[in-house]
């Protein structure tokens, strides 16, 4: 719970007040925290691409949105990221559980893991890769950066970092 709490605290410190998720077991603690947080909006959504659209609308309405998802969700969302969030320069934080990184028990997750950072790089999305607890302190500044550069940004949280978060 400590890691998840630290991530949410830092996102909130960075101004994020609207949260969506396509659930992942590594995000479960964060979802629990958000479901009990009266200060921010939270909902699950069925698909990441749809979530990008909802985040765009929330930004138009002056919220600062974050979508939490597995890295597989980036694959589901490329067109929405490019032709909506980037085209209209909308700041959105992607909080990504980085499935398929060392510690991952499911071999099939390795495929998207191998290309996740390449996709984000191709999309020119600023990345913050968190593999240890002390790196989580960078999340608030990094989130604010999304607003300054009017762009989506991606925070990648490694499997091994999240799996110990009991």
């Amino acid at each position: 719970m400590k890691i998840s709490k630290k991530i949410i605290d830092n996102l909130k410190k960075g101004g994020v007040d609207f949260y969506l998720s396509v659930p992942c077991k590594l995000l479960a603690n964060m979802i629990d925290i958000l479901e009990n947080d009266k200060d921010v909006y939270y909902s699950a959504v069925p698909r990441e691409e749809e979530g990008m659209g909802i985040c765009a609308g929330a930004y138009l309405g002056n919220k600062f949105p974050c979508i939490m998802m597995q890295n597989t969700g980036i694959g589901n969302s490329v067109n929405a990221i490019v032709s909506l969030l980037q085209l209209y320069q909308m700041p959105v934080v992607f909080l990504i559980s980085y499935r398929g990184t060392p510690g991952e028990p499911v071999g099939a997750q390795g495929g998207m893991a191998k290309i996740t950072e390449d996709i984000l790089q191709t999309l020119r999305i600023p990345m913050l890769h968190c593999s240890s607890e002390n790196e989580l302190d960078k999340i608030s500044t990094f989130s604010k950066h999304a607003k300054v550069v009017e762009s989506p940004v991606a925070i990648l949280c490694d499997f091994n970092l999240m799996k110990e978060d009991k």
């Binding site: 138009l60 002056n62 067109n79 085209l87």
Partner: protein, 189 residues
């Protein structure tokens, strides 16, 4: 009645609300009929009009109308489940259902065969789902906006067909900023 006729009929209602308008001909036709700062024209991301409108309705109090098409809703059908479970009362989804992919040359969609978006929306949890003719759409839209306790999905069944039209000349950032300025969220313009 085709989409252009329908947009002409509802333009006075749209003027008083926040509008998210579907990519391609719907946006181009609406722009030609009446360009307003409170109209957000989609220049990409086919399928997401309903989702953008939902996020906007959840984030502020003004009434939001998402103008969508049957082809676009078929592309993002999970949106109906999210709307059924989460849409606030200041949200109306207007699906212009002409049974065809208008912007790409009027190829038939599945709503022109067996699929009923009304049945899908009801099954997905949307409570107030209205299927109506183009002529009835003005009344149904007004009812939806006047009801301060419920969100609505209106499926307006019309004929296919488009008018010859140019792309929207507006820059995306112009569309974004004048829209946000209209709802009072941009101070620097």
């Amino acid at each position: 009645m085709n989409r252009f006729d329908l947009l002409n009929k509802v333009q006075n209602i749209l003027k008083d609300n926040l509008v998210i308008c579907n990519i391609g001909l719907p946006s181009q036709e609406l722009y030609k009929i009446s360009d307003q700062p409170n109209f957000f024209y989609m220049l990409g991301s086919m399928g997401l009009s309903s989702s953008i409108g939902l996020g906007l309705a959840l984030s502020q109090n003004k009434h939001v109308i998402s103008i969508d098409g049957d082809g676009s809703v078929l592309m993002n059908m999970n949106t109906l489940a999210t709307i059924g479970n989460r849409a606030p009362s200041n949200y109306t989804l207007l699906i212009i259902d002409n049974g065809s992919y208008g912007s790409t040359g009027d190829q038939r969609t599945f709503t022109d065969e067996k699929t009923s978006l009304k049945d899908v929306a009801l099954g997905a949890g949307c409570k107030n789902v209205v299927e109506c003719s183009g002529e009835e759409t003005v009344n149904e839209l007004n009812k939806a906006i006047d009801d301060k306790d419920n969100s609505y999905v209106i499926i307006s069944k019309i004929n296919s067909g488009n008018v010859k039209i140019d792309p929207i000349p507006l820059n995306p950032i112009t569309i974004r900023d004048r829209f946000r300025k209209f709802i009072g969220k941009v101070k620097y313009l």
